[in-house]
Amino acid sequence: MTAALTVTGLSVRHRRGWALRDCSLSVPAGRVAALVGPNGAGKTTLLHTVTGLLTPHGGTVTVAGDVAFMAQDKPLYDTFTIAETLTFGRRLNPRWDGAYAAGRLAELGIEPERKIKELSGGQQAQVALTLALARRPGLLVLDEPLANLDPLARHDVMRALMGEVAERGTTVLISSHVVADLHDTCDWLVVLNGGRVQVSGDIDDLLAGHLMLSGPDELRPPAGAQVIEESRTGRQVRLLVRGAQVLDPRWNVRQADLDELVLAYLRSPEASALPRLSEVGA
């Protein structure tokens, strides 16, 4: 497993304090990684550092191949036509698949002579995505790609993206503050909270490694379990635990789902699920 993106010890300081503090994570090649966290967790800062828009105060970012970036508001030059926007892509990128870009926009029914500002939000998102994809990047970074899009446009953008991953094995890093958006599309999870990486790993492994337990409140947590979150109502206790074998039959055991897992970590900022240091960059 080679890493498409490796970040080690990344720190970025704001005027009011740390935006990112000692962040380390890696995303293996060919994965679709979700970067989730509450607003203000530092997601955009992390993405801007990965794409070179920000210079970090410390730490390193290593990317295998080119990085293409679609920023949150999907900026394009308003006064450019579609054709000029594609010329922009061709002139600024030595590796540029013009036939693909033109073909994809023709398929979507976006005429080359129209101006960017005449397009709908969904169409602009498609043009911005095409601009990023036609570069044939090794790593595609998307900041809240679904924000401000209607459900149809969201589905279209995700379909295009997943098709690209299936076709070319592009590694993708998507940020979102809505976990549900990324449910079916991502297979790698990075949880960022208060400028620190709290969780980083394969989603299936994470889900398999965490259990949701409920039972009478006199029960002790299973031996060796890391309790991520604990909540008590009446005589019942509910635990989200990591890395435990549950032998006591009084526990009602089920697998946690992705939303529960993310929420539990976000509510317990001191907990973390990170690969051992030796695995970072593996």
Partner: protein, 318 residues
């Protein structure tokens, strides 16, 4: 990158080119007309120091009052406009629209993006300034004026000065965009900056060289064409320079109205008593020395502004 620079800034390039062309036509038209007028009215030996020549030049300047007014504002307005419309939006507009996140994440490096934009646009701006300078240099003699050096307004529109001023204003606008990340404050910075730099440099220009000291005994008017006078003083018969005109030696009655009779009488009296008059000035032969000195100062300013803009752009912090 050059395509992108043209595509993003073609409006400024075309408008500036159009304005220069219009100005060229205006100057050409007035020059042709003035030549005809001069052919009909000029006494022989003009331009020269004869009073008739002076009258002719005066008549011409009245005739071309509108052109002169435009001309008077140009040294200040032209660089300000260049800084406002070429410099300020270069980064300000990208930051405002968030398009720097698009432009600076392409395969072309930010350094190259900056250098091409600054290079191409800075080159065009300088070329525009030189074109203006050439047009003014061709036009001015037709109006029987040879005031390249003494008239600071003209001085700033001939030689290399316009190119230097335009480039300076452009670089200041770019730096403003990098600092404020908005176009309007960057534009305001340019206007304020030019309005401060121009009188500042005018004052400083007295010190570009040691002034020549000419001592006259008979007239307080300097007998040199197109010189820049920077100071004067009376010299007592003993040879010491006086900080202020001597009092108690000759009667000095104030003049009324526009007449200078009393002043002239006072001066004649002083010269008669052995007083002499020292005039500190820069002769017109220093034209190029002053042009290059001013251009060098502005070039240093331009480099400082451009360097600030590049540094702010390459090392981006939150």
């Amino acid at each position: 990158m050059i395509w992108l620079t043209w595509r993003q800034h073609r409006a400024q390039i075309l408008v500036t080119g159009g304005l220069l062309a219009a100005l060229g036509l205006l100057l050409l038209g007035s020059a042709v007309e003035a030549r005809l007028y001069v052919a009909g009215h000029a006494p022989p030996g003009c331009p020269g120091r004869a009073a008739a020549c002076w009258d002719l030049a005066l008549a011409l300047s009245e005739r071309y009052d509108a052109v002169y007014t435009l001309f008077g504002w140009m040294p200040l307005m032209a660089p300000a406009l260049v800084g406002v419309f070429w410099g300020a939006p270069l980064l300000g507009r990208e930051y405002e629209r968030g398009t720097q996140k698009l432009a600076w994440t392409q395969a072309v490096s930010v350094r190259r993006w900056m250098l091409v934009k600054l290079g191409v646009l800075g080159g065009l701006v300088s070329a525009g300034g030189l074109l203006l300078s050439a047009m003014v240099a061709l036009w001015r003699p037709v109006l029987q004026r040879e005031d390249w050096f003494g008239n600071i307004g003209v001085f700033n529109m001939v030689g290399v000065a316009p190119a230097a001023w335009w480039l300076y204003a452009f670089a200041m606008g770019v730096a403003g965009g990098a600092l404020f990340r908005r176009t309007l404050p960057a534009m305001a910075l340019v206007v304020a900056g030019i309005a401060l730099t121009m009188p500042g440099l005018f004052r400083l220009s007295e010190h570009y060289a040691e002034p020549v000291r000419t001592v006259q005994s008979g007239s307080t008017v300097l007998n040199a064409d197109d010189a820049r006078v920077v100071g004067w003083a009376w010299i007592a018969p003993s040879g010491t320079e006086l900080p202020s005109p001597p009092t108690g030696v000759c009667a000095h009655r104030p003049d009324t109205g526009r007449s200078g009779r009393n002043q002239e009488a006072y001066e004649r009296c002083l010269f008669g008593k052995g007083y002499r008059y020292a005039i500190y000035h820069h002769p017109a032969t220093r034209f190029w020395r002053f042009q290059w000195t001013e251009a060098a100062i502005l070039a240093v300013g331009s480099v400082a502004f451009a360097g600030t803009a590049v540094r702010r752009t390459l090392r981006r912090r939150v």
